[in-house]
Symmetry: C2
Amino acid sequence: MIGIFDSGVGGMTVARAIEQLCPEYPLTYFGDIARTPYGSKSPGTIKKYAINNTRFLLEQGAELIVIACNSAASTALSTLKNSYSVPILDVINPAVNQAAVISKNGKIGVIGTRATIKSGIYEQGISRQRAQYQVFSQPCPLLVPLVEEGWLKKRETKMILRRYLHPLRSRQIDTLVLGCTHYPLLKPLIVPRIGRRVHLIDSSVEVAHAVLSFLNTHTDLAEKLYNPGKESRFFVSDLTETAGHLAAHIFGRPITLEKVNV
Amino acid sequence: MIGIFDSGVGGMTVARAIEQLCPEYPLTYFGDIARTPYGSKSPGTIKKYAINNTRFLLEQGAELIVIACNSAASTALSTLKNSYSVPILDVINPAVNQAAVISKNGKIGVIGTRATIKSGIYEQGISRQRAQYQVFSQPCPLLVPLVEEGWLKKRETKMILRRYLHPLRSRQIDTLVLGCTHYPLLKPLIVPRIGRRVHLIDSSVEVAHAVLSFLNTHTDLAEKLYNPGKESRFFVSDLTETAGHLAAHIFGRPITLEKVNV
């Protein structure tokens, strides 16, 4: 099946998007809640965790890996591609491609964790496709804790978002990449603060489209992975109440989280 | 020497307080930044990490262990005491004792991480000493990320604090236990919001007094640990910029963090 990993529960927005686009392909999800978050940690530590997670998914029988965590993808994608022969899709490149196509004025904003922004991966990806485009990046380290607390409508969250988005707004970006899988849950708060004319690129949706198009162009693998009767499974390295609530919120139904030691 | 561990850098407020009270006793600090934070994780996971950390400090030659992390102390203290013969002091009991002595009206507030508050350890400790006292607890999960971001004076931090402290204030507590090692850094913001007449119990300061009194009553061990020439060492499981800044802020001088794999 398709294996997906994330630093925690946020990557379930990716799993949910893939499920909606490719419902006949069962998923095995792994969320590294015992070590979450990744976004505030060093590249070396994130790489180590990404390798552990990939190994776990391969042991479960994954034949296609999706890195659903921006922090992991931005620091560990090339390490993983060099270490494993299985195809690996990530949450960043599809969003980069979409941003490069969508932007008209060539001013693109990116928000993400500290690790993702520091990696410079979005700037590099976009400038490889559109050398003249300008990319303005903003680390937003408090958004993940706010989402995990379920503070999706609180005044404090709105204020913090305004503070983070202000520098991007003043640059008159026309496209904003949501470079963290938690951020789609904040869309209703982001839209009025960045401006309704700014296109939001949801990396979760874009990677789901990338998975679909990969399956369409790799029919041998697609046939192997096709299994409409089989249910997706959700593994986590730690079981917490908050995680259960957030998973149910993302999927709109209760999700059984299975604890494993990795 | 004296070994201290914490989930990250917050426990350095404890190390700093011990250093000031017992400057002749070198410390070996371990901050588990690669797995931080503990406060949002499950008791089983926190116990596993606490055992790892203790083992590391014993390997370094620690002969007295201080659990500087409230989340770890509240869930793993008895496990550690049952597993190791070395004396173990923790950040909770000294604060409990002080709160029981200081409170006049018998209404005590406790703030901490989700794990600490859920453990009920402060209520149990205080009611063991003063059965008639009332303890009102409030989990404050966003305070650690706010402190780690250095948002010590921001308006959003003040608003979030007001939201967290309001239920305690309306109970007319006369004593508030800062049940997380990050919180002393927020004292200037907490005082006006909880009310200037409320006594704040700083668990970092209280555990330092407990260490001093332990050394005074265990002279054989104290003699072994006495080593005024030796510098304290600070080990971490991950090296990040934020950690370096926070450590320097807490100690008021640059601190060399040494990365180790545990």
